[in-house]
């Protein structure tokens, strides 16, 4: 495929020049021309008012579509605990499987037969389970090798996992081995009604842009999906399903996990599972400002989070960072204090049920996603709020 400008239609308006993220369009004799810098991103196609830019398909573009049926969810466990995102994916995967008229399966490495059974209650019709000690703790090579082997044998058409440190580290190896397309950190998945292709929607350019990605030919279609953006399926302890035991025979590893060390700050205990989050940004002014947030968090039973600016200032460790390069959270209540609401922060918290913004600048973009906004100084508002809640709770 390549992108072409129809010189007869081009009016020389230069709209396409602006649209190109790669500087690949130049003006020549008053007409637009695509240069070899073109990355085929298609950004210019929709901007041309004359419809002069089009994509030209070549015979070599078409490849035989590999076969495959079934939707798979890789269920991630760490120390025997199934990740929340895996259950969310069983919910989403069930919807995809229904649209495609196919089966939903889970894959579990490590964990117990009881854990495999739980996955069935959460919606899987079949669970491929390997309890070989080699796979008890996460390790890229054996995880990738065994999952790839299973995919080759069973030929699912879609394979999903959470966009967690684990999923984002070993899924690329599986995709490379299988010559499969892999879309990172998706926030939405749909089935294209016409082609049955999986449409994978994800943020790019630091959250400033959303892109829809698809795999026209290759199978399986693989994606990692951001935690807390999909809804868990319905838990039904009467659901029946099949557990297929898988052997890890012949699987080896050149890396060894020698030690796993936990470093969890008191109030940061799993932001992703928190019901209430109190978050602070540069507007908190320093560690002292964050102390106000810790006090508010204490009376609310909340966890403390931060914007990247606050983390970069060193007021709070990286582990508390929410946003594009931090965590994605979805609590019932998110209180944003002294945070401007840059899109990189918003992508990490806008699925929260209720958002409260406290900021002294009435124009701050954080107010555009807030349910309740207070224009004011955090150093006045936050302690007052802490006091009122304390009084209320007695």
């Amino acid at each position: 495929m390549y992108i072409k400008v129809n010189r007869d239609l081009c009016s020389g308006c230069e709209a396409c020049l602006q649209s190109c993220p790669y500087d690949a369009i130049v003006m020549k004799d008053g007409k637009a021309e695509i240069t070899e810098l073109c990355q085929l991103c298609r950004a210019c196609l929709s901007v041309c008012p004359e419809g002069a830019i089009s994509e030209v398909r070549e015979a070599s573009d078409a490849k035989e579509t590999a076969q495959g049926t079934g939707v798979w969810v890789f269920a991630e466990q760490r120390e025997g605990k199934i990740a929340g995102v895996s259950l969310e994916l069983l919910g989403a995967g069930r919807g995809l499987a229904q649209k495609l008229g196919t089966e939903l399966s889970a894959v579990l490495f490590g964990g117990t037969a009881g854990d495999a059974q739980e996955l069935i209650f959460w919606g899987a019709e079949k669970v491929f389970h390997c309890d070989d000690p080699l796979l008890k703790t996460f390790n890229d090579e054996p995880y990738a090798a065994l999952l790839a082997k299973l995919v080759v044998e069973q030929k699912p058409e879609i394979v999903l996992t959470g966009a967690t440190p684990i999923g984002r580290s070993f899924f690329p190896r599986v995709a490379a081995k299988l010559r499969a397309g892999l879309t990172a950190d998706c926030t939405s998945l749909e089935i294209d009604a016409e082609t049955g292709n999986l449409l994978q929607i994800r943020p790019a350019f630091g959250g400033n842009i959303m892109a829809t990605i698809f795999c026209p030919h290759a199978r399986p279609q693989m994606a990692t999906v951001r935690p807390r953006v999909m809804k868990k399926g319905e838990y039904d302890a009467s659901r029946k399903g099949e557990i297929v035991r898988v052997s890890a025979k012949g699987i080896t590893s050149r890396t060894k996990v020698v030690e796993t060390v936990k470093e969890v700050a008191e109030t940061a205990i799993n932001l992703q599972d928190a019901n209430i989050i109190v978050a602070g940004g540069r507007g908190m002014g320093g560690e002292k400002g964050f102390q106000l947030l810790h006090e508010l968090a204490e009376v609310l039973g909340a966890s403390v989070a931060a914007s990247r600016a606050a983390v970069d200032e060193g007021w709070i460790p990286y582990r508390h960072q929410v946003g594009q390069t931090g965590k994605t959270v979805g609590p019932k209540l998110y209180i944003a204090c002294g945070i401007s609401g840059a899109v990189q922060h918003l992508v990490g918290m806008q699925s929260s049920d209720i958002i409260i913004a406290i900021n002294k600048n009435p124009e701050a973009p954080i107010f555009s996603v807030a349910n309740f906004g207070i224009v004011g100084d955090v150093h006045e508002i936050v302690p007052l709020l802490t006091k009122k809640i304390k009084d209320l709770k007695g």
């Binding site: 495929m1 602006q18 190109c20 993220p21 790669y22 810098l37 073109c38 085929l40 298609r42 929709s46 573009d61 760490r78 996460f138 890229d140 440190p165 580290s169 690329p172 190896r173 995709a175 490379a176 010559r179 499969a180 892999l182 990172a184 950190d185 449409l199 790019a204 350019f205 630091g206 400033n208 842009i209 892109a211 829809t212 990605i213 795999c215 050149r254 890396t255 060894k256 996990v257 020698v258 030690e259 796993t260 060390v261 470093e263 969890v264 965590k327 019932k332 209540l333 009435p362 107010f367 555009s368 996603v369 807030a370 349910n371 309740f372 207070i374 508002i381 709020l385 009122k388 209320l392």
Partner: protein, 260 residues
């Protein structure tokens, strides 16, 4: 020790925006930079070399302009630079990018390959691990500390959500690094002078003996269907009055919503 650092030239994505009315990118004067994580990867490579001896090669796949990024890396202290550039590479997704880079690394030769955790344009974090698979070597992601390195073995710490894992690996190995790993040095004046004159080795599709069907758009299983602006909309209520009044209103709302 032969060290290869993969760097990517990216638009400074904090400044790339989309016009929600026309769904097009606004990139007026957006500067290009070396992907910030890759600068940490380069620093790690230079530190390994200082400890064990050897050579640091920086490698990038990109348009001819990517040479600027390579010269910046040379100014920081890299020994040599390789630019993979060919019309045939256009439209590469992570699969094709990783395949192409791995072919070049096999030619260059490497004991340790360093990548950033992710590139800030695509934010995929996939190219590193995919390359390792193509080269059939182990990889470890999110390196926050290099504990020990010998000619055939390495011990590192991998940052996880709830702490870190200490991991031992054989060499050759590919590492992707996070910013906590180090503080990158500034280029020296002498380095800058040398970088200006340094020769940059160029490689094309033919040089790396890659199969045409595995390169660029043709070799890419994924394709971009469209791009659009993220939507941010919600009902909101601005609370008015004195600080006391605003807080009383807020607390009342929260109690009604059963948030507290």
């Amino acid at each position: 020790m032969r060290i290869v650092v993969c760097i990517k030239q990216v638009p400074d994505s904090a400044e790339v925006r989309i016009n929600p009315e026309t769904n097009t990118l606004i990139r007026d004067g957006v500067p290009t930079i070396i992907n910030p994580y890759d600068v940490h990867a380069l620093e790690a490579g230079l530190q390994i070399k200082e400890k064990t001896g050897g050579k640091v090669t920086v490698l990038t796949m990109g348009p001819p302009q990517a040479e600027t990024a390579l010269r910046e890396a040379l100014a920081m202290g890299a020994d040599e630079a390789v630019l993979l550039t060919d019309r045939a590479f256009a439209g590469s997704d992570t699969w094709a990018t990783a395949y192409t880079l791995s072919k070049a690394i096999e030619l260059i030769g490497a004991d340790v390959i360093l990548c950033g955790k992710q590139a800030i344009d695509g934010d995929t974090a996939q190219v590193g691990p995919e390359m390792a698979e193509f080269m059939d070597i182990p990889h470890i992601s999110y390196i926050r500390k290099i504990v020990d390195i010998t000619p055939d073995r390495m011990v590192v710490q991998r940052l996880m959500d709830d702490g870190f894992d200490q991991i031992e690996s054989t060499l050759p190995v590919l590492l992707t690094v996070v910013k906590e790993l180090n503080v990158p040095r500034m280029p020296s004046l002498k380095g800058k002078m040398a970088a200006k004159k340094a020769e940059i080795r160029k490689m094309s599709a033919a040089d790396i003996k890659a199969a045409e069907g595995d390169l660029g758009l043709k070799g890419s299983p994924t394709q971009v269907k469209n791009i659009f602006a993220p939507e941010v909309k919600k009902d909101r209520k601005m609370l008015e009055g004195t600080a006391e009044e605003k807080i009383d209103m807020l607390v009342k709302e929260l109690v009604e919503l059963k948030c507290i």
